[in-house]
Amino acid sequence: MTCQTALSLLDDFVDGELSQALAEEVSVHLEGCPRCRLEADETKSLKELLRQSEVRDPGRDYWPETSQLILARTVQSASAQEPHHTTADQLADQRNAFVRALLSLAASLVILVSAVVVGQSQKSTATLSSPDNPVLLTSSLAQRLDPDFQIVTHEERTRLAKGMLLMGPPGPFGRIAGLMELINLASPGFTEP
């Protein structure tokens, strides 16, 4: 066996994934070749070293607290809507439809203008507590390109809904969606089917 062949098989050799016959051939080569042997020993030591790395336990309270948080974001929010409301999935779909509609709007240059207008209208009406930067609005829209991204805060949803209402295309996925969202935010559950 040449060094080149031996080296190409070393990872699998160290991982114990070669057939017995092939593993034996590699072993024989390593016995007679210090250079390849060193390579194999280093890979073995590296694996051992990595296995020693440990993760610090974040504390006993962390686990129940985190599972509570996760359940609050999923199961409990779904069951809170019952019986005549929607599941969390439908809610998420609805939000995503809203976000997608918003994104199609964002695709045009109009968004730059609208971002500024929304930014200014928010400042002038001063309905939101934090002074919103128009640039921030556009960058947060970019984040929404991720279809898995959920609108989390009430404030964010309000901001997007306002933008939709002011600048969105007419129709159920445009301004109407913005309006519904705003009404919904003002009185949760109102527009849920």
């Binding site: 020993d41 280093e42 030591s45 070293l49 993760v55 336990d57 996760i70 359940l71 199961v75």
Partner: protein, 193 residues
Amino acid sequence: MNKEVPELVKRFVEGDQKAFADLVTRFQKKLYALAYRILGNHLDADEVVQETFVRVYRKRKELKDVNYFSTFLVRIATNYAIDLLRKRKGHSSILEDTTSLPGNVQLSLSHRVATPSEMFENKWLMEEITKALEKLPPRQKLTAILHDIEGYSKAEIADFFECPQATVRSNLHIARTKLKKILKKRLSSKEQK
């Protein structure tokens, strides 16, 4: 314990919320350890854990085979972790002062139990390993962690990343070669022992 998992998963997919809560409890530690190794700090690890379960909940209908729950979970977690890594690029994750973390009793997540003096030594080792891993691009880093630390097979990792096994092999080889270079001192001092 593992025998019950497919049954739990089946109930979870059918909408059983208690089953979901049980799955969170069962898998959160494993997921946290993986996320911590990838991101190198508690806050990001926490974010990965929460977001992964929320996504698993929302995507549960996509889970075709209850036996693949763990793959499903890790796939979602690794994808999210890669996104976070890319986002963090440039301002690399801070190596946190582990003594300031809550819960000084640690190591419950590790592969082995260490004595107090080993724990001190291990803190430095952990930092060195984390720093070395940070020098790798996301895919190589994750492949090394999943294979050499977490013990997943190449086939499983190919499943997580939805890529050919050959890609996993080459990523692993490149990652190991780089790590051997970076951790050379550690490796040679080990070999002398």
